[in-house]
Symmetry: C2
Amino acid sequence: MQTALRRFKADIFQALAHPTRIAIIELLSGGELSAGELIGRLGMEQANVSQHLAVLRSKQLVANRKSGNQVFYSVRDPIIFEVLALMRTYFQKHIQEAMEMLDEMDKNVRQREPGESAEPSSAHGAEI
Amino acid sequence: MQTALRRFKADIFQALAHPTRIAIIELLSGGELSAGELIGRLGMEQANVSQHLAVLRSKQLVANRKSGNQVFYSVRDPIIFEVLALMRTYFQKHIQEAMEMLDEMDKNVRQREPGESAEPSSAHGAEI
DNA sequence: TTGTAATATAAGAATTGTCGAATATTCCAA
DNA sequence: TTGGAATATTCGACAATTCTTATATTACAA
């Protein structure tokens, strides 16, 4: 059976199923970057980014090269960029329902944390 | 910023990040199928499949059409098939490390549940 | 109407994912 | 050597997923 293949695919998708990890992949589309550079551009906690990098590493999506003090990361196979490009196309095609989906998510978040919006700095309409 | 776009992409990947849901999408590649048909071919619990279908529905990956007693499902946008096709290519290219990855996963499972193998019926070498 | 088949939803337990804080490791320069 | 910069790992709290069991819902046929 192809259950192993499906487990494999699911695993790759799982690795991609986080906004930060998608951001990392996209940042690496211009070539390799050091972990510090990634942390800076993402503006997130060092440990957190390092953990996300660990996830990408464990699924072999990125390679890392040690150079002195630093560790440089790169995407192993450009096919991953193609996957993201397809997703971009998909998004553009379905932008309307995508917005509704995001709003729905926001609504749920607000129900759980009343009085606090998830991203106070901008509304979705402006963001996209 | 494109944080909304990344949240959207992550959400789609999340929806695809389960072997059963991948199987559902693949089963639907030949055209629409009823929920019952899917349950039969997957050989899984009715409730479980229904929940996975709910996930795919909530992310708008599938459409459903009610006809009498039954509900027929179909994939909304064939672009999703392209994504899976890319993954298949990726897998074929990286089959060696994929195997190692799967074995690694198995090893971890065995550490947690000693004396019980995850899939007693077959080893990975034979499965793929 | 009532019963039954097809499907969905809810509730709860177990597992897994995520994050921040703290700590460890590694490499180099002084 | 020692100190500091860059990165990784560990731990504990919390949130999200997944599964099973039980229960709802819906549409029809008898």
